[in-house]
Amino acid sequence: MALNRRSFLTFAAGGVAGTLFTPVIWKSIDDTAIWTQNWPWIPRLEYGPRAYAATTCKLCPAGCGLNIRTAGGRPVAAEGRTDHPLSQGGICPLGAAAVQLLYAPARIKGPMQKQADGTHQPISWDQAEALLKEKLAEQKGKKDAVVCVSGDENGTINELFSALLGGLGSDGCFLMPGEQLVASKVLREGNIGYDFENADFILAFGADLLDSWGTAVRNKKAYGAAHPVGEDASAEYVYVGPTQNVTGGAADQWISVAPGMEGVLALGIAYHLLQGGMTAPQAHDFFAYRNFVINRYTPEYVERLTGVAPEQVAELARKLRAADKPLVIPGSSIAQGGGVFNFAAALSLNMLFDNVNSVGGIQVLPDLPKVVEGAKAPALVRAKDLVAYVQGVAEGKVSKPGVYLVYEANPLFALPQPDVAAKAFDGAYLVSFSTFYDETAAQADLLLPTPTFIERLDDVQTPYGSGFASYSLTRPVIRQPIFDTKPTGDVLLSVAKALDIDLGYDSFDKVLEAKVAALSELEGFFTDKVQPWEARAGKAPAAASGNLWRNISRGSFWASIQEPFPTAMQLGSTIISQTAPPDAEDWTFPVSLAAMDSRTYGSRHIAIPPFCLPLLGEQEIQGDVFYVWMNSATARAYGLQAEDKVKLTGPNGSCLAKVRIFEGVGRNMVAAPLGFGHTAWDKFSRNKGDNIYKVLTVRTEPGSNLAVWADSRVRIAKA
């Protein structure tokens, strides 16, 4: 057989035919398909043993215990800890997103410095610290030239900030505003705690217990325990607030009162109690209080200001009296920006029932011992009014500091009238310690990113709203930090050393160890067998023993129900009468703005995580436009219908939204969510809706001189 063209072609034809009887073609197609599953850019699972690591959440001040589930040492999910009194197996949407936030594109990957063209360029930690040292050295000795804004309400890190500032000659250590600030105006020492678990009638004024106020997850657990499925409730919950938010919806009764008017209703109830013969002999100012309330807060007056019918007020007073252990919670519906009047008025009801430091009542909790020499007492830091200060600087009444240090806070987004904050910050050297590229970081001259709480050691002391003093630690549960971050405590210590300011420690870990060691000064116990509320009700806990640090750093929760000092409380008649709201109507801005907060929308310093976006309904945001809610009567009065575009205008700012009709908003009010309208962060959280903080307007409360904005008012018009 000669090899000619023909035989070659037949050979090839045979080859082709033969191939059809082999798996080559099918196998190649199959393998090619499988190969496409292995492209390197396709996400891979990591395998390895699964484990849980117990830690504490720092995404908001509630201090829940979290279990971080890991696979092969890599965090994959966050769950609520069942053994932790502040979470009891529960978690909020933001906490559930904790692991995802670790990998968020908005994370700052390392220290950066702002360039002349406004962009941020990476620098080394050594350069960054040298720069910070240089900027602080320039201000050393000048009075109040360095200001710190901390968004961490309850961490020991604030002691380091305050001591460092002290060493530089400054007294400017501020916390972001919250209920703590108002509470501190009423109570000069210690914290206020609320013993929900042992109360049988809970009347919350403003405080959105089940979503965004205080120890939210623990509050939900207490509510759940009091409302067993298929059985009678063991405690009644009444919510007084502008909107039927989560708390208003779950409560046995919701009473709508415009923001800022909660205290009027509280005193309206006091009127009935006093008329009914209740006294408070333990309070020195009882008679002044009695006269003031009975003369001014008559049923007619209260109805005119709040719109609540006199019978309803009388009925509330009757229910409170009938309860065994009534507990009244003061607060504002956004847990910030409320005034002393509302707070003190609601608090005074507790004193009429003599339930201060009693089971099921309000508790005065001690501050945990301070461990950093030179730091200011926490009560003094809590009492400083950041918003009033910022307004003062912007108006030129207070001299502008040279350097701002901003830690876990986003003042250029989350202070009322953020443009005023921007003015107060403009021209000063701005240092951000934020983990994420938030609005403040975007403006900062120097970025010194701190690791997330999943990557660092940190602590939580008695969160506001807790019924007991407590301490727990956050610890690194990841093999190594994901980015080139450095715990802010360590940065502060090393910079202080370079400035010759002795803060007494080499590392932040040592500060925390000292804190734990100092806990032995108080009577405390681990909540493994007995919960703090059980202890308060009489069950004896075993005193904490063994190696405290070893236990707490592995996740044990330390609690104390010790009272700080005998409290001789006053009903606050003076402050209540001085801060009482004027009863004149405001016709320029006739509608009350009821801002709403929820952990679904992130927290004060965290934008909505992508994980939570699917939780937002079509009635909350569509495309880039978000909704404000009003009831049908209000909408009709302004010629609005569902889905109409509307403009809210306050004295200082305005925003655009669509209308959602919801009857769970009181009359002549418009409800709007906080936490939308971010301009920094990542593509997931940016440019969604508008920032309601722009529309919230600061006023000064007469009598207390406190900056308040929870009771802002607006004009609404079709846009």
Binding site: S7, T10, A13, A17, G18, T22, K27, D31
Partner: protein
């Protein structure tokens, strides 16, 4: 002339065709697998047989379920180290295990014959009542003295022994048909296995 030409071509066509056909068969059935798979050997010699027959161990001793029900898969150094924290005997691989892996804290990079692809859920716990080897999922290494050669597909990087979807489906279909009540949860709906 034309006829002759045709005659020659008939005989001349069959042979090249057959040659081509056979060559293709040989290439397809024998050559391609040789080319497609690289052969790898396990990092250490390991005999299941000795562990079972000489030391009376059972599969569960090393391939156990954890308390949370998840399957621990291959034992790690800690498990092996319970007996082999120092060389037992003088086999070079025994010494290598202790010196190169155990003491240095490096896990042995065993080659796994079949990982499930990333796009399926697979729980060993749900399948524990099937004998690993006889159900046809794993090669029967339990009584072997040597670990089989590991064939890695050069294209896909998968092990040649990776289970095919049809194997899962076949078992699910038969088992679910045999005892529909007991295995109500094991039909072949996509979401039963796929993420």
């Amino acid at each position: 002339m034309e006829e002759k030409k045709g005659g020659t071509s008939a005989g001349g066509v069959v042979l090249p065709f057959l040659l081509g056909f056979v060559a293709a068969l040989a290439f397809g059935w024998w050559g391609v697998p040789q080319l497609l798979y690289s052969k790898k050997t396990q990092p250490l010699v390991f005999t299941h047989q000795n562990h079972i027959e000489l030391y009376g161990m059972s599969c569960d001793d090393c391939h156990s379920f954890r308390r949370d029900g998840s399957f621990s898969g291959l034992p790690g150094n800690a498990k092996c180290g319970e007996c082999h924290s120092f060389p037992l005997g003088d086999h070079p691989d025994e010494i290598k295990f202790v010196e190169e892996y155990y003491e240095k804290g490096i896990e042995v990079p065993w080659l796994v014959y079949q990982y499930q692809p990333d796009n399926v859920f697979f729980s060993h716990a749900a399948h524990r009542e099937y004998d690993c080897a006889t159900a046809g999922c794993h090669p029967d290494v339990g009584s072997s003295n040597e670990l089989p050669v590991y064939y890695e597909n050069r294209l896909t990087k998968y092990s040649r022994d990776t289970m095919k979807m049809k194997d899962c489906e076949r078992c699910h279909a038969t088992v679910a048909a045999q005892e529909p009540e007991r295995f109500a949860g094991a039909p072949n709906a996509c979401q039963i296995c796929h993420k």
